[in-house]
């Protein structure tokens, strides 16, 4: 199967928030009344019940005019997902389509994945003790349907197709975007093994709360690759070692006349044993 991707053309988004609503609709996530955010942005961040949202950025143009930029914020389905590597319970998996999805029964909401996502995506549902995030609509795309958010997007700010198609489309879109935004650039082609979201941005990623060079924390993987296997080994070795030592001492105890116990009358079972002999 070929890896799929979404193109997120930020230069085209009108902030209608159709994707935000349809994501809730398809995934049956009830609405939440958020606090006032100080702008037209609906909420501060994603939540266990909100897997995608539009973030608002107010920018001043060179001529003094104000312009809004709207970026869809959801899981990027990284080529090299930190969350997946960090999860101690194998609760995250990557499908051949490129979706990083959660295995419901394995997830215990421990939150170990949270700090290892460079995009601050996983949200913990404290009540049900599960992590929640965008699934790439895996239940849809695995059945040859398009992601709900993409299907809704009217201005074509979200597109869906194979990663290579989206990558080529991004180049075309960039050309168009650069006419309006001289600093326009593509984000997500090279980051973290290629993201499942390829962005066309009007300006540098730092302006839109995207890390410029997203990297995975150096301690990532040390848990799964070092501490867990070696720890298991150490515990098993100690158990086996003491177990063997125990068997050895039992054997010894029958003959070890120097044992202080024997001097005082010996083990109960040893005395029986002596009589049997």
């Amino acid at each position: 199967m070929v890896r799929m991707a979404r193109l997120i053309d930020v230069t085209r988004c009108t902030a209608c928030r159709g994707c935000q609503v349809t994501c809730k609709d398809w995934n049956q996530l009830p609405g939440e009344i958020g606090e006032f955010t100080g702008s037209y942005q609906s909420h501060m961040d994603n939540s266990p019940l909100r897997w995608t949202m539009i973030k608002f950025f107010e920018e001043e143009k060179s001529n003094g005019d104000v312009q809004w930029v709207f970026r869809k914020h959801s899981c990027n389905h990284c080529g090299d997902p930190g969350c997946l590597k960090a999860c101690p319970n194998n609760a995250l998996a990557k499908s051949e389509l490129g979706a990083v999805y959660r295995i419901e029964e394995n997830c215990i909401g421990c939150g170990y994945c949270v700090p290892f996502c460079p995009f601050d995506i996983p949200k913990i549902d404290e009540v049900n003790e599960k992590m929640k995030k965008c699934t790439f609509c895996i239940d849809r795309i695995a059945n040859d349907l398009r992601p709900a958010c993409e299907k809704t997007c009217m201005p074509g700010a979200i597109m869906y197709g194979s990663w290579d198609e989206m990558s080529a489309l991004a180049d075309k879109r960039l050309e168009a975007a650069q006419k309006r935004f001289p600093n326009a650039q593509i984000y997500g082609k090279n980051e973290l093994g290629g993201l499942g979201n390829i962005y066309v941005l009007p300006d540098g990623p730092q302006n839109y709360e995207l890390p410029v060079n997203p990297t995975l924390a150096p301690t990532l993987g040390m848990w799964k690759d070092i501490v867990q296997p070696f720890g298991n080994l150490a515990i098993a070795a100690t158990l086996i070692g003491t177990g063997l030592a125990f068997l050895f001492t039992r054997r010894k105890a029958f003959v070890n006349v120097e044992s202080s116990k024997l001097a005082e009358g010996g083990y109960h079972d040893e005395q029986k044993n002596d009589r049997a002999l």
Partner: protein, 212 residues
Amino acid sequence: MSKKMIERFSPAVRVAHWMYAISFITLAITGYMLFGTKLDWMAPMFGGIEGAMVVHRVAGVFLIAAIVLPLLMRPKDVFAWLGESIKITSADIGFLKTFPHKLLGIKKEIPPQGFYNGGEKINSLIQVVSGLVLITTGLIMWLSGPGTIAPLLHATFFVIATCGAIGHIYLALLNPVSNESINAMLHGKVSEKYMIENHGQWYNDVYKAEKN
């Protein structure tokens, strides 16, 4: 040889020890469910791994209490134990050299030991150091989320503490050379002979001196 018994651990010390021990074992079992998969069959007893994590936190509070209460109520005892444990003497080194034999139940001449022998001191130090790290990282993870380093340290010291505890349990319960010492933690007393053989220095310097 006389069957005279000597008081080794006061009731307060024993209560603290068992409170710590029971909390530790509960923590190790529930914690392991996150660490590995080999105990997952026990998860239903706790209401799933999610339930085990709740039990883990409750047991954590008990473990902290097993440290804080003695510190508040019997600070002298606690500091006496700590003070002894960090004083590693040449007698302790001598003891550790014979440790492989002891492990296999072979009796060997050991230099006269203090109130705690070299092995007990090492065990104490392992538990003190890993206990401090485990409690600190545990509280950090509980109160401010896992972060990228705390789980790593927590897991590493879990392994160290658990291996130490397995060795400790084996020596105290199953090893014929040393398992008499369990009585000291159960009833508080061990035979005078045991103290002479295993803690000769303490017996000569302290116990006899107190007697006279």
